[in-house]
């Protein structure tokens, strides 16, 4: 992460108007809650990863954020302004790249851009044309003759040209091959670096996000398990290797995940590095945790009980997340 991006996030965390805030957001389908008690915040200028398994409620959350779906309860605020589904004001503030990047197959790329211009209040045709030219996508080609990666790029270009301050991408690369994934993420990050936009990228593939995102939200079972600046979250967690006999209560911080083998236990703890240094014992080994290990550990935790705790993630004892989610 660059130093400037870091500052942007700090500003967000320190009380500037966040790009996105959802407050106890819930959506019920019939009798089943697709998402409940979802309180998240994404500071302005962040590139946020929303990670969760399929069926975690990611798409539900995103559709409420962009204004396609009315929440059953709770509220979405984009740059401080409350959103109402299917209104011009809300739709204009958020750009959206839907899963599988839907486009009209018999339209040319130029037609798609004309649609974007016709259906949006603001539209940067120059940006759109320059971007596809740079990517070598001919304006006159029909969408159905583009590769999957090129279609994803056209979708992203349309979202960028809409000039909305918040961009939401739903599984942008899940339908692409590994090379196209990498290229798409690289181009996405170049676009993010060139702009002051805030990105929220949902994915169930963790690896592709690791290098690019500076903010992390882990969603599971319709609930937020973990949220905060990626570097702080990584810094607040350690993978300890301890003798198997060590009880959880002897360990510093909160035990997130514990795997026991014959003689040793591998424990992921959420802890303060200083506390770890004080409580550390000879024979303990403390390793930094990878993005993927961290996400997997939180995804496997049981969901907090519904109803009792209005904002489960906010209650967790780590400094980075606390400052942000309160």
């Amino acid at each position: 992460m660059t130093e400037t991006a870091r500052q942007v996030i700090r500003q967000g965390a320190d009380g500037g108007v966040p790009a996105l805030r959802t407050d106890r957001l819930g959506r019920r389908y019939g009798k089943v809650w697709g998402l409940r008690n979802c309180t998240i915040e994404v500071p302005a200028g962040a590139v946020a990863a929303l990670v969760g398994p399929n069926g975690a409620g990611k798409t539900t959350l995103l559709q409420m954020i962009i204004g396609l779906l009315e929440p059953t309860e709770g509220q979405v605020k984009v740059f401080g302004q409350a959103s109402r589904a299917n209104t011009t004001q809300t739709l204009a503030r958020v750009g959206y790249v839907a899963q599988d990047h839907p486009l009209y197959r018999d339209f040319t790329v130029a037609d798609m851009f004309r649609l974007g211009r016709a259906m949006n209040l603001s539209w940067d045709q120059q940006l759109a044309a320059a971007r596809v030219a740079e990517l070598g996508i001919p304006l006159g080609r029909k969408v159905r003759h583009l590769s999957g990666g090129q279609q994803a790029q056209v979708s992203l270009t349309m979202a960028l040209a809409k000039k909305a301050p918040l961009l939401v991408l739903d599984e942008p690369v899940s339908s692409l091959d590994p090379v196209a994934r990498l290229e798409f993420m690289r181009d996405l990050m170049a676009a993010a670096a060139d702009s002051a936009l805030t990105f929220l990228i949902a994915s169930h593939v963790v690896a592709e996000l690791e290098r690019f995102c500076d903010w992390l939200i882990v969603l599971s079972g319709g609930h937020v398990q973990l949220a905060g600046p990626a570097d702080d979250l990584l810094g607040d967690h350690r993978l300890l290797t301890v003798p198997r006999a060590t009880a959880d209560s002897e360990l510093p911080g909160t035990v997130i995940e514990r795997t026991d083998s014959d003689r040793h236990s591998t424990v992921l703890v959420c802890t303060d590095p200083v506390q770890l240094a004080v409580q550390g014992h000879a024979g303990w080994q403390a390793d930094p945790v990878s993005f993927e290990q961290l996400v997997m550990a939180y995804l496997q935790r049981p969901a907090p009980t519904i109803g009792g705790d209005p904002a489960p993630a906010a209650q967790r004892p780590w400094p980075g997340a606390k400052a942000v989610t309160r």
Binding site: L68, T88, A92, Q99, R114, M119
Partner: protein, 301 residues
């Protein structure tokens, strides 16, 4: 939005114009020979003189030449065409967006989806009205010599002249748009909309239409023995006036011919009533579509 809607329906518009052109070519070819036969046989003068009573041979000859091509086979083929046009245009309007997931693109731009739908419906409905009016004009012109013999009330004329053709296209369109929203599949929506349309069309045609207004009854006494024209599409009909729609003829105790009929003068009343039925059904289906789309909070696809 106008451009977007046009671009999405451009190929359908071209197909509609092609259909219209093919129909016009067929109409010109057949109607030209029919018109020359009509004047060659002196039918116009005969009709003016005696409503056709004085020239039965000429009328029979004309009907033998043109009845099968103009009335029977033509009507049989075209009866379902308004329904097909309506469902082919209507089903994809929402069905394809939902089937292919492009609704997430269309409705996440800055135009709220109810406004998007209103614009689409307004433009496509206007296009269908133009197409229906054009087909009506072509067929009315094409049938003109035949109509002078049979009147406009026989279903081969009535179904394609006036307002009914356009209204029944719209009805199938409305059903198909609603079915597309409910079923989220284009082809399924076409099938689901066409079935009810066909049933309603048949019920209106054969059950309701003769009863739109109470039929008149004509009693003709025949002291010298009754010789009634029993055929319901005879020229002239039993009432003696071309254009009257004879519903039934019976001979009462050998002394009186009793004819129930709808007079030719009611043609436009009937057209308005029947078109009103179809337009009301269209409005109900499209109103339900708009309401459901507005109310339905969304789909996760």
């Amino acid at each position: 939005m106008i451009w977007v809607s046009w671009r999405q329906h451009r190929s359908q518009a071209i197909a509609g114009l092609s259909l219209l052109a093919a129909l016009a070519v067929f109409a010109i070819l057949v109607s030209t020979s029919m018109r020359s036969a009509f004047s060659h046989d002196g039918l116009a003068a005969c009709l003016a003189r005696s409503e056709g009573i004085s020239c039965p041979a000429a009328i029979t000859g004309f009907m033998n030449s043109f009845d099968s091509v103009v009335n029977i086979s033509f009507w049989g083929v075209l009866f379902v065409v308004p329904g097909l046009i309506g469902v082919i245009v209507g089903a994809p309007l929402l069905g394809r967006e939902l089937e292919l997931g492009t609704w997430r693109l269309a409705w996440s731009q800055t135009v709220p989806r109810t406004r998007w739908l209103a614009a689409q419906l307004a433009l496509v409905t206007a296009g269908l009205v133009l197409l229906g009016a054009a087909i009506t004009a072509v067929i009315t012109w094409y049938r003109e010599p035949m109509d002078r013999l049979t009147g406009h009330f026989i279903n081969r004329a009535y179904d394609f002249e006036g307002l009914v053709l356009t209204a029944s296209i719209l009805c199938a369109f409305g059903f198909a748009v609603l079915a597309g929203l409910l079923l989220r599949r284009t082809v399924a929506a076409m099938v689901a909309a066409f079935g009810p349309w066909l049933v309603i069309r048949l019920v209106v045609e054969f059950t309701l239409r003769p009863r739109f207004q109470a039929p008149l009854t004509l009693r003709q006494s025949c002291p010298h023995g009754c010789n009634a024209t029993m055929g319901l599409d005879a020229v002239p009909p039993q009432t003696g006036h071309i254009g009257d729609w004879v519903l039934g003829v019976s001979i009462n105790a050998g002394k009186q011919v009793v004819t129930t009929y709808q007079p030719a003068s009611r043609f436009w009343d009937f057209q308005f009533i029947e078109a009103g039925i179809f337009v009301a059904l269209t409005a109900a289906a499209l109103g339900a579509t708009i309401w459901l789309l507005h109310r339905r909070a969304g789909w996760t696809a």
